[in-house]
Amino acid sequence: MPDPLIDVAGLTKCFPAAGGGDPVPVLRGIDLAVPPGEFLAVVGPSGSGKSTLLYCMSGLEPATTGTVRVLGRSLGELSRGALATLRRDHVGFVFQSYNLIPALTARENVALPARLARRGIDASRVDHALAEVGLRERAGFRPAALSGGQQQRVAIARVLALQPDVVFADEPTGALDTGAGSQVLDLLTGVAGAGRSVIMVTHDLRAAARADRVVVLRDGLVHRELVRPRAEEIAEAVE
């Protein structure tokens, strides 16, 4: 068994209460390991802590207690700069609200991580990534000139060009119609494998059924784990 790409142990996360009362626990002790190449889906009812788990695993949100290790490095011990560098070099994101910079063209958005890392920008790699998501002819367009599905595909092209070790996707099909959502899922499924893992939070149980493994969260705890389940089995576990 290879070392896990991500290793979560005893993870808790609390948010301050709105009125200044006791902190509100959202994650109550999560243990989870993601091996290289796995496509993992996280599902659960609203408020179960799915997105918070994703953000804690990616270092965008600090854990309250417990540890998150990515590529063997404990996120809690890294400075903000080191965390940013780890994200830049090893992590890709696909958010529901399309994480594209509005001032940059599709091509510039795809090349952004390389530019931030001061690596030489391989134009052919960027163009190839855009071609893979079917948007080569839209490379010069800014996000506002693209549809939701196209923006999401640009976000995936960025992931393809960056070739990160792990991709976090938060409701990547949440704002898309069925056709565009299916296209995005096909692309994400293709991203997983060859040592690269994809962790996807979703409400869409059919989307989750594409994953190698599905973790069902409930009240901030892992309620069930299912391996290559059908959508009906996931629905049963979530209820």
């Binding site: 600090p62 903000r80 700069g81 830049r88 994101f93 958010f95 994480n99 952004l112 931030l116």
Partner: protein, 420 residues
């Protein structure tokens, strides 16, 4: 309805501040004219002359600064206005509410600014004009409020119409609509300003040296007004041209700041135009007077407009800091380090100040060259004044971009991205 009218506090606070600061020099002018009417004689004549000059400075500055702030106030809230329409509020009502918001802020800001200036009128008139007991009656104070409200509505009225009539989905997709380019109104303003500028220039040859000061002083603000009217034609092109001097491969922060400032043309114009006016006014006054201007004269003639222009530039950045936070969170998610994000914020301020310096210098050059040709001496560019104002503007804009960015970097990225 009341809830709608008072929504968006950070943006409205900025607009309120600039309305109040606009009212301060307007109150000085109003008090000057009111006092002139009361005292009569030669004192009145000198008050009318000084008041007339300040009126030109204040009007040009207010139209550019307060007008930009009013436009930005509406533009930054485009998303909210679109959501209002989606819940069923008619476009006509949206326009009415936006106009009411602008009017409310203009009147409140003008009243605050007017009331805050009254206590210093005595000191100002005594030190600069050797006049005891300046007067400011209700009519003069009311005219200040009407002036501020008119400028705000002139600047923001068209944006209010645009907020109401742009399809909400288009606004939600792209909250900051692209600049509309040169509208008919801009062409008319530019042509009228150019005509006045040409008339002043034509009047210079043959004018006695001791009478050149006033027409020369008008050239700076007129040139600034012309460039502000031609803004959509000039600003982004100039910004892109000079910032290309630093190649993208040299600094990621500079590249990000360059792309952002060029893309958000409305935001950039709102910051650059006030700085340009400040530089043009200070350099123009210095150049027109051949460097013989006293500090008391500078404070009397330019104190208010300069304060308005420089504060206006910094305030527009503060007003837009929420959307800037969102962009910075996107960069952080993409792997930008805090140093790169802070660097981009600093470069943004440098780009604003640099572009304003180039435009302001163009205005000062008009005054300097025209003065030199008319008086037959070497041109005086007032570089000391130009650089002092640019430096002050740069410091304030740096503080306005970097400090909120540093604070925003302490926020968690998901929360910032979620807080749309």
């Amino acid at each position: 309805m009341i809830t709608l009218v008072v929504a968006g506090s950070r943006i409205w606070l900025g607009a309120l501040l600039i309305a109040a600061v606009t009212a301060a020099p307007a109150t000085v002018v109003a008090a000057g004219f009111r006092t002139a009417v009361a005292v009569g004689g030669t004192t009145a004549l000198s008050l009318y002359a000084v008041g007339g000059t300040i009126t030109v400075f204040v009007t040009v500055t207010a139209l550019i600064v307060l007008g930009s702030v009013a436009r930005l106030t509406v533009t930054l809230q485009g998303r909210s206005y679109a959501l209002w329409q989606l819940v069923g509020i008619r476009p006509g009502l949206v326009r009415l509410v936006v106009t009411a918001q602008l009017l409310l802020v203009a009147v409140a800001g003008a009243a605050i600014g007017c009331a805050a200036t009254v206590p210093v009128l005595g000191v100002l008139f005594r030190s600069a004009l050797d006049l005891e007991r300046p007067l400011l009656g209700p009519v003069a104070a009311g005219s200040v409020i009407v002036f501020v409200a008119a400028v705000v509505l002139l600047g923001g009225g068209r944006s209010a119409g645009r907020a109401a009539h742009t399809p909400p989905i288009q606004t939600l997709r792209e909250p900051e609509l692209p600049e509309r380019g040169m509208t008919a109104g801009r062409w008319v303003t530019a042509a009228a300003t150019a005509a006045v500028l040409a008339a002043v220039l034509a009047s210079l040859p043959g004018t006695a040296d001791d009478r050149l000061g006033v027409p020369l002083m008008l050239l700076g603000p007129l040139a600034a007004g012309l460039l502000a009217a031609l803004g959509p034609l000039v600003l982004t092109r100039l910004l892109r041209a000079w910032t290309a001097l630093v190649p993208a491969r040299v600094s990621v922060a500079w590249w990000l700041a360059r792309e952002t400032t060029a893309f958000h043309a409305g935001r950039s114009t709102a910051t650059i135009s006030p700085l340009m006016v400040a530089i043009a006014l200070a350099g123009g006054l210095w150049s027109a007077s051949g460097g013989s201007v006293t500090p008391a004269t500078v404070i009397l003639l330019l104190g208010g407009p300069l304060l308005l222009a420089v504060l206006g530039a910094a305030t527009t950045i503060f007003m837009a800091s929420r959307s800037r936070d969102h962009e910075h969170a996107l960069l952080a998610a993409a792997g930008a380090t805090p140093a790169v994000i802070l660097g981009a914020a600093a470069c943004e301020a440098i780009i604003y100040a640099g572009t304003a310096l180039l435009l302001g210098l163009a205005c000062v050059t008009v005054t300097a060259v025209a003065g030199a040709l008319a008086a037959g001496h070497a041109p005086a560019f007032g570089l000391g004044a130009v650089l002092s104002v640019t430096g002050t503007g740069l410091l304030l804009t740096l503080a306005a971009t970097v400090l909120p960015t540093a604070a925003a970097l302490r926020q968690d990225v998901p929360r910032t991205l979620a807080a749309e």
